[in-house]
């Protein structure tokens, strides 16, 4: 009888003893190895968007919040956060918030389905992959390939592919200027432009006028009409392509009508 009791008792005691030992050990360890985390960091992290897009230049929102606490980075580096949230984060950190312009990604191509294919491309349906095969299947080597790598990479769903034109469309209310599309586009067609500066050049071709005309009816032929007729001096034709100096931007909507190929466009 007695040995029977012991047979049950010893395992129970051992196991609960082990459990107790580890419990106490862990409790002590958690005290000893306790890492002091700035309580503000959690509050700040709570306000950050959590998309981990990396547009601020830090390794995700966690890294951004650490950099903010350390003071090595300012709040306006995050293009995603709403203005109110930024204000709140600045309040938590006790710093002044600088006003930053809201940027939006803009596609500098108007070709899409209007540009014919040079050859039949049967590889992976991805712009980066297609571009590696002789610069893609489009007759214009500067323009959009239309496989929607930018739409796939956008973490906010702001880019959709328009089936009619074969071009990506940026929803400016959703776009946060994280720059992922700018990075992924093998043709470098996206630029981040201030939402208030609405006029842009919908072409990236540096080919001569005739060569552009042969493959695309809506490309910039570098005729220089915009440069000559616009009084504000907003446009400059450089390397066979009209370019806008956004640093000296003047709202000049009439120039849009000047362009014979309708390459100068205004965002809605």
């Amino acid at each position: 009888m007695c040995s029977f009791k012991m047979e049950i008792l010893i395992p129970i005691i051992t196991l609960s003893g082990l459990g107790l030992l580890f419990g106490i050990g862990l409790a002590f360890a958690s005290k000893k190895f306790c890492v002091h985390v700035d309580p503000r960091q959690e509050q700040v992290l709570d306000k950050l968007p959590g998309a981990n897009c990396g547009a601020c230049g830090q390794a995700g929102c966690m890294g951004f919040s650490e950099a903010l606490i350390k003071g090595s980075c300012s709040v306006d580096r995050c293009p995603v956060m709403k203005q109110e949230d930024k204000q709140e984060v600045a309040g938590i950190l006790g710093v002044e918030l600088k006003e930053a312009a809201k940027l939006v990604a803009v596609l500098h191509c108007n070709g899409g389905k209007k540009v014919k294919d040079r050859f039949q491309y049967q590889g992976i349906k991805d712009c980066v992959a297609a571009n590696q095969l002789q610069g893609g299947q489009k007759a214009c080597v500067w323009g959009c390939l239309g496989f929607g790598s930018c739409a796939k990479v956008c973490p906010f769903g702001a880019i959709t592919m328009d089936d009619e034109t074969g071009l990506p469309v940026v929803d400016k209310s959703k776009c946060t200027a994280c720059g992922n599309c700018v990075k992924i586009c093998p043709k470098n067609l996206f630029k981040l432009i201030d939402i208030k500066k609405t006029v842009y050049i919908a072409c990236s071709s540096h080919d001569k006028g005739k060569a552009v005309m042969d493959v695309c009816k809506v490309g910039c032929i570098a005729c220089g009409k915009c440069e000559r007729e616009c009084p504000s001096g907003l446009f400059k034709v450089k390397d066979n392509l009209a370019q806008i100096d956004y640093n000296n931007y003047v709202a000049c909507d009439d120039c849009v009508k000047v362009c014979p190929t309708k390459t100068i466009r205004k965002r809605g």
């Binding site: 051992t14 459990g19 050990g25 862990l26 958690s30 992959a129």
Partner: protein, 203 residues
Amino acid sequence: MSAQQVLMIIISMVFINNFILSKFLGLCPFLGVSRQTKAAMSMSAAVVFVMTFSAIITWCVYNYLLIPYKMEYLRTICFILVIAAFVQVIEMFFRKTSPVIYRALGIYLPLITTNCAVLGVTVLNVNDFFIKGSPVSASLFYSTLQAFFAGIGFSLALLLMSGIRERLDLVDVPEAMKGIPIAFVIASLMSLAFMGFAGFQIK
């Protein structure tokens, strides 16, 4: 302790009795963390580390606690307890002392806490290196060695898989087979290949 036995343990653990591909233990991280090679590397490092040290600790628990009190039947629950507590302490330790290692292994350590491969290697050690309730000579060394190379075998399988899956992303796979289904097919093919090692004999 002989060189032949050491060599046998190494080859057996890495190839012949590979934990993932021959024993089918630790399949969860094998499919979960094998999408990118970088994550697979971190996971492998964490597994090797935890396996080796939990083998040492469980050997001590088994030899000095369970055998003297004739409680060998409690080894599963005791080992799980030991491994879980150990992983927790390690996580805290790294968090305090080395943020770099903590970032690299941090998210994977809790995953290992209840990983069957870690428990598997400790149980296997007990089966292999204890004869009739007493340890064979140099069994602590053998246990550690076996656990370390079990981890290496695990890493090998995980890295192979992640390499294949990274390439697989660029292949035109039928819609229904994308992702996990094709990964399972590949895992079985890899396992078949590793079955080829089963005929190995070291004399």
